[in-house]
Every structure is written in C-alpha cells, then in structure tokens.
Subunit: 121 residues, 2 copies
DNA sequence: AATAGAAATGATAATCATTCCTATATCATG
DNA sequence: CATGATATAGGAATGATTATCATTTCTATT
C-alpha cells in the first residue's frame, strides 16, 4: 500500500461527507502535497476493487466516495446535494424472492429535501 | 410538439429496449433524416420534464431512456447490459415510514446476470 | 550498500457523453 | 408578406474520468 493510497483511504475514513475525487485530492494534499488527481482516481478504483471503499455514482454530478463499506443506502438532498447514510432498505434475499432470480447486488438512492434546505424555502 | 419531438417520443414508445440517445437518433432518422444528436438530447430532456419519458442513468455507460412512465424499476444484466422492467420494488410510503422523512422519489437498480449470459458461462 | 526489476507516481493528453452556441429554417399570426 | 417567436442542425465546448508514459520509488537479493 503506497503512501498515497494509504492517505486517500485514511482521509475517506475520517469523514462522513462522501467527498468527490476533487475534494479527496484537496484533503489528501495536506499530507502529500504533490498528489495528482489521476493518482486519486487510480487508487479509488483499486480501493473499490478491494472493497475498502464504495463509489456512489451520482446522476448529475461527480461521483462520490464512501470509506464505510458496511451495507447501507444513501439519502440525497435534491437542493444542496448532501448525502446521508441510512440503514439498508433492501436485502438481496428479499429482492431474489420478489424477482425469482439470483441477484448480484443493488444500488438504491432516495431523494428528499433536507431539513436545512426545507427551512430556507 | 415539433415533428422531431413527436418522432422521438413515438420511437421510445414502440420499443422496450431502453435505448441510448445515440440509438434513438438512429431509429428516429429513418423518419427525420436530418435529425441532430443535440436535438435528441434537448427533446429527451423536455419529455422527461413533461413526465412522458424517463431517463435511466447508467453508472458506467451512456444513459438510457424509457418511454413507459408507469412506476417500475429496472433489472440490469452485468454482462450484456440489457435492461429489464420489473414491478416497483418500493413505495414512497414505505420509504417514508422507514426513514421518518418526506421523500421526493427513489432510484433503484438491481443487478444480475441474465439467463442468456448465464448460459454462455 | 549496490542494483535490477517491478510497481506506482505526476503530468499531460485523450476520451466520450452531454451541453452550449449560433446562424438558419419553420411556423403562426396580424 | 413581414414579423416575431421558437426549434433546428451542426459544430464547438465542457468536464469528469481514463490512458499514457517518462520518471521515481520500493523491494528483495546479492
């Protein structure tokens, strides 16, 4: 595990904001000033393959990354884009029962307007 | 509703393959040969706003579009990328009950390996 | 410690879906 | 028929992500 990879993982584990690759770059550069964006993307992919990090693909914005890999789903504010963790809303087993087919996985995103943004309206 | 927009919608309603913007362009050009890709994208966005079409954002591939807007979810083959329709696997109400918050909507994709692709292994 | 080979890095260029821009065409209406 | 409003085609621009590649850093072995 290279220094860069280590720092990237550590940064992700210290934060619950589900940062983008860019944001990870900024945070990690405080410890590895010369870090390049390509290196961030490359290591994020490796870490995802190793199941140490989870990618959260965003529909109309840069993807975000999550250092916590226990199963959970995401609740996303349509206004400010903030991503909240929520307990799993599905199980593979329930899906397989409903669908009558072996399931490899699922990706679920719930959209809402967060309390902060609601107040502002 | 312009001729182009009409053809794009009609093409989408005649097909259950959830085509990409490119594929829609090819199909629609049989009836509007001069059709431009930008026009396809613009009208797809308009049709989505009018709730006549639904976008299916893909995680690692071009987005796909669905001319059927009754609520349903999607089952996606990890091998060939084919997209199948399945009945809704969630309700807003159930999600709101679980989460204790008003929900605007959700987007759920289930991954599997389709029978065709399974056979080939 | 010296070194060969492998692996990872930083910098830059390439990719590719999608959006933006602009001059032109179409259309409805007075 | 002129006018204004709207939509179009085509091409250029954008922006996130990947690929490339020369150089640097590790690692293990002598």
């Amino acid at each position: 595990m290279s220094r860069q990879k280590e720092v990237i993982l550590d940064v992700l584990r210290k934060v619950r904001t589900h940062p983008t690759a860019d944001e990870i770059l900024l945070m990690a550069r405080r410890r590895v000033p010369a870090l390049a964006l390509g290196t961030v993307y490359r290591n994020l992919k490796l870490l995802c393959d190793e199941k140490k990090v989870r990618r959260i693909p965003m529909e109309d914005a840069p993807d975000r990354y999550d250092g916590f890999t226990e199963p959970h789903d995401h609740l996303i504010c349509l206004d400010c884009g903030k991503v909240y963790d929520v307990p799993s809303l599905q199980t593979k087993e329930a899906l397989e029962a409903k669908l009558g087919a072996k399931v490899s996985g699922y990706e679920m995103k719930v959209y809402f307007v967060c309390p902060n943004c609601q107040r502002e309206e």
